[in-house]
């Protein structure tokens, strides 16, 4: 590759300090969709400057039409930028060889419905030029990982949406990629599948892989992302670490187990003495996801246990 085509961020630092390795870099990246006559239909992305580092989970947030998927497609080279530059692993996004290290799960699992799970993964393995023996092992491992061993011979047209997403994820991981791009990864998954997907993302991060996901399911992003960027009408409105962005520095939250009425009165008195207004006081609620997962887990442990149709106040504190 020529010098001119290497991203500056990918070069060793001239100061001698080793900065975090930049996996993705965009520089004033813009995309305009035009009609047949060249007239502007929509400006989907406006001068996006972004750096994504190795080993992080990065979330692209935004409402529908904000430019998340366009960004993803530009990163993958499926679209050509109107202006600006995109580098992935220091190579231009249009360079096919970068795909050797990339796994991509599209928003819908666009797979060949006439193939079964084994054939699907074997086909994608061949596209990575993997030898037959390696492919066979990898296919078996991934099918087991996504829990579809029982359905591996069934054509995908017979799969439910959740199953299709799982096999879609498996194809994204067939090459053991260093960078995984996930477009709405939890779309179409049930809560268990969603949890498993999020756990997998965290596991991938722990393995040192970089994950970029775009979603409009804020809770999912909050659960797994280290950093996020918020897009709105094609512009990057916010960029930073999730914990820093969400931290409310002028509000203090204290959580204690089983506080007695006496202790509660004393705490309130102390706060009043210091002239502090109590914004809220009460028992925190868990998330619906946690409640659902707990019920499913208990049902599996104690088959036959029936719901009472009322809240029992035993919310999981986890």
């Amino acid at each position: 590759m020529s010098e001119a085509q290497v991203s500056p961020a990918a070069r060793p630092s001239e100061t001698g300090q080793s900065p975090p390795e930049v996996v993705i870099e965009t520089r004033t990246l813009s995309k305009v969709y035009r009609d047949f006559w060249g007239r502007t239909k929509v400006q989907a992305l406006k001068a996006l400057d972004l750096q994504i580092y190795r080993g992080e989970v990065f979330g692209l947030l935004g409402p529908n039409g904000s430019g998340k998927t366009t960004t993803m497609k530009l990163l993958l080279g499926l679209l050509l930028p109107t202006s600006g530059e995109v580098y992935v692993f220091g190579r231009p996004a249009t360079d096919v060889s970068k795909n050797e290290r990339i796994g991509y799960l599209p928003e819908e699992s666009y797979l060949y419905r006439f193939l079964n799970a084994e054939e699907t993964l074997d086909f994608y393995g061949r596209l990575f030029n993997m030898p037959r023996s390696v492919r066979r092992q990898r296919v078996a491992d991934l099918i087991e990982m996504v829990g579809l061993t029982w359905a591996k011979k069934r054509p995908l047209k017979e799969y439910s949406k959740g199953m299709t997403r799982r096999i879609g994820l498996a194809q994204a991981l067939i090459n053991d990629p260093d960078l995984i791009l996930l477009d709405e990864p939890t779309s179409g998954l049930d809560p268990i599948g969603t949890r498993e997907m999020k756990d997998l993302i965290l596991r991938l991060r722990d393995q040192g892989k970089t994950v970029v996901m775009c979603s409009h399911l804020l809770a999912d992003v909050q659960d797994v992302c280290d950093r996020i960027g918020i897009l709105y009408q094609g512009e990057l409105k916010e960029l930073g670490r999730v914990d820093q962005l969400l931290a409310m520095r002028d509000v203090t939250e204290i959580r204690v187990p089983r506080m007695s009425p006496e202790a509660e009165s004393e705490v309130k008195a102390v706060l009043a003495k210091h002239g502090l207004e109590i914004l809220s006081w009460g028992n925190p609620t868990t998330t619906l996801e946690h409640l659902f997962l707990r019920i499913i887990r208990e049902s599996e442990e104690h088959p036959g246990l029936r719901a009472h149709g009322r809240g029992d106040g035993h919310a999981d504190r986890n």
Binding site: L76, L78, S83, T94, N99, P106, F114, R126, L127, N129
Partner: protein
């Protein structure tokens, strides 16, 4: 020979063809490069040169760095999808059409084998080419529409691999279907044409006087007819030794087995037709003419028939058609004779006896020393192939002489072709050896045809007289017929896949069909453009569509000069643009009509390895350019837009 075009020889064709291909490729690359650069300029403004260079550079790298495994995977996917779309139904459709073919294929026709072969090959041709065009038109646009292409293009897959993989996959599907049809059609044709005749020994009549056989017994030659089957019967002979023979009728004969019962009663059992399904091997020579004054000329005379590609020689004059054959070897012809076949055109200026053919003579000449003998007189009828034999040992001949050849130049000077002297004793020989006396030291021999009747003409073109070097396997020739369809199919797939890289399904479908139909009518397209019906034979006029329509509407023939009005001038100006466009198109669209061998198989001519190689190389040349074009089209396309 029914194939009225010059058949290319690989050795003389390959050089000019390669140069033509190279110039076409360079022209195409330049044109596409220019369009690509303008496109970049439009999209990227000042950054266009850099962007264009990047695209070009990476495009060329991607074209070279292809992986057979990836191509194999993409081809496999295409095959899998095609069979998922139930392409095998086409084979069933073919079988059904064969089942009902008996309703409309008439075995009593004069040439049933041609009818059967045209039917099976024609049906296969249309079915397979339509099928692959549909498959190609739906394959890639379908992937783009369903967005399944996203999961492929985000892998390290080159667009050249996608194009090549899809072409190979579709070719594999088409080959499977074609192969199946070949296997099915062979027994269909053979069994469909199978028939036999019965001979009643009591109906045979004595022929000539009884003769005494070597064992002292008396033998009597017999003749008669077989019973009629499928609208024909054969003349039947039994020689004095009791050996039966069936005459050729409608292009075939039958084997005969003689069975004698205990009481001495003889029964003749005829087998199936023989000689009907053949693959003759013709050896072609080069053709020059001699005019009525005895000078060599490139062409004969025109008899005013604008629809023929033949040149004519005048009867009862010095005019002759001279075929020169090269590299004939005695061991190529195992028998005592060299068989020749000819299909001469006959033009009569007076009717004469219309039932009788026109008389002509056949002579052989040694081009080195001019030694010439006239071998036989024949009677030629139009639209019929005449088979003659030239004996290797020539004992019956006439008019032994040294025949000089001369050329009259434009300035009026006459040049004689230099000849080696002939020993005068040779001229008085009673027997000649064809290869010793009439073949030059460099292996050439001349065959001269003359028309003997005054006021009548023979017309001929190069393929009209050939030496028949034997027969090849009909089974293999039928395979070559299918190979011709396969070549057309491969090109249709190539165009379909390449067009689908930048067009949607409906437009790809229509465009590929258009290219295929135009390719099948390529010769006609060239004829319109050049105004020549056959190479060197000009039509009276070269009209475009508007002037043709005006002439059609005003009922003016092509020979009539119509008033040069302003309207006509405008029409001709528009026509000239159309003809220029058609001219360009005829260089882009492949000559698919020349790729097929249906006529060869149906008329019983072997497809020569040379012609096969020429056609395969032609298709390969087109395919390479199509893959490169498809690669760049797909690469420069935003599939996710």
């Amino acid at each position: 020979m029914p194939i009225e075009i010059e058949l290319p020889q690989l050795s003389s064709w390959i050089g000019p063809a390669f140069l033509a291909w190279l110039s076409a490729a360079l022209g195409l690359i330049t044109l596409c490069g220019l369009i690509g650069f303008l496109w970049c300029l439009l999209l990227y403004g000042r950054r266009a040169p850099r962007r264009f260079w990047e695209l070009l550079r990476s495009g060329v790298i991607d074209l070279v760095l292809v992986s057979p495994r990836r191509i194999g995977a993409l081809a496999w996917l295409t095959i899998k999808e095609a069979f998922g779309r139930k392409v095998t139904v086409v084979v069933l459709l073919f079988c059904v059409s064969l089942l009902f073919a008996g309703w409309f294929l008439d075995p009593t026709s004069s040439e049933p084998h041609r009818l059967y072969l045209n039917f099976v090959l024609g049906t296969t041709n249309y079915l397979v080419i339509l099928l692959v065009i549909f498959l190609a038109a739906f394959r890639l646009p379908g992937d783009i529409q369903n967005k399944t292409i996203f999961t492929v293009l985000t892998k390290p897959v080159r667009t050249s691999e996608i194009v090549t993989g899809q072409i190979l996959g579709l070719v594999a599907v088409g080959s499977f279907i074609l192969g199946t049809m070949w296997i099915i059609s062979y027994p269909f044709v053979v069994r469909g044409l199978h028939h036999t005749h019965a001979v009643n020994p009591a109906d045979l009549r004595p022929l000539g006087e009884p003769v005494t056989l070597p064992d002292g017994s008396q033998g009597q030659a017999l003749q008669g007819w077989t019973d009629p089957t499928w609208g024909h019967r054969h003349r039947f002979f039994v020689d004095a030794n009791g050996n039966p023979r069936v005459d050729m009728e409608r292009g075939h004969t039958h084997s005969v087995r003689v069975e004698k019962s205990a009481d001495g009663k003889v029964t003749y059992r005829l087998g199936g037709p023989e000689g009907q399904l053949v693959a003759r091997v013709p050896i072609y020579g080069s053709l020059v003419f001699r005019d009525r004054n005895g000078f060599d000329v490139e062409k004969g005379i025109s008899v005013g028939d604008e629809w023929t590609y033949r040149s004519y020689i005048e009867g009862a004059s010095q005019a002759a058609a001279i075929w020169t054959f090269k590299d004939l070897k005695p061991d190529e012809f195992p028998g005592d004779t060299i068989p020749i076949e000819m299909n001469l055109g006959v033009f009569r200026t007076h009717k004469g006896d219309i039932e009788r053919g026109i008389l002509g003579s056949l002579s052989v000449r040694n081009p080195e020393n001019g030694l010439m003998v006239e071998l036989q007189v024949f009677e030629s009828k139009e639209f019929s192939i005449l088979a003659l034999d030239i004996p290797k040992k020539i004992t019956r001949f006439s008019s032994v002489r040294v025949e000089p050849r001369k050329i009259k130049h434009a300035d009026g000077t006459i040049e004689y072709v230099r000849l080696k002297p002939v020993d005068p004793q040779v001229l008085s020989q009673k027997e000649f050896d064809l290869f010793r006396d009439f073949t030059s030291s460099d292996g050439k021999i001349e065959i001269w045809i003359r028309c003997l009747e005054s006021g009548q003409y023979f017309g001929m073109a190069k393929p009209d007289l050939y030496i028949r070097a034997g027969n090849r396997s009909f089974f293999l020739n039928l395979f070559k017929g299918y190979l011709g369809i396969w070549l057309q199919m491969v090109l249709a797939i190539g165009f379909g896949v390449t067009l689908s890289t930048f067009l949607g399904t409906p437009v790809t479908l229509v465009s590929t069909l258009g290219v295929t139909i135009a390719g099948m009518a390529h010769q006609f397209m060239r004829q319109i453009v050049t105004g020549e019906l056959y190479p060197g034979v000009e039509t009276p006029a070269r009209f475009g569509p508007i002037e043709s329509f005006i002439r059609l509407f005003t009922q003016e023939g092509v020979m009539v000069e119509i008033p040069r009005t302003v309207g006509l001038m405008v029409a001709r100006a528009i026509d000239s643009v159309f003809l220029a466009w058609l001219d360009l198109l005829s260089y882009i669209i492949p000559p698919m009509d020349r790729l097929g061998f249906i006529d060869f198989v149906a008329y019983g001519y072997n497809v020569s390895p040379s012609l096969l190689a020429v056609n395969i190389i032609t298709v390969a040349g087109y395919l390479v350019l199509l893959i490169v074009a498809g690669h760049f089209f797909l690469r420069s396309r935003e599939v996710a837009a």
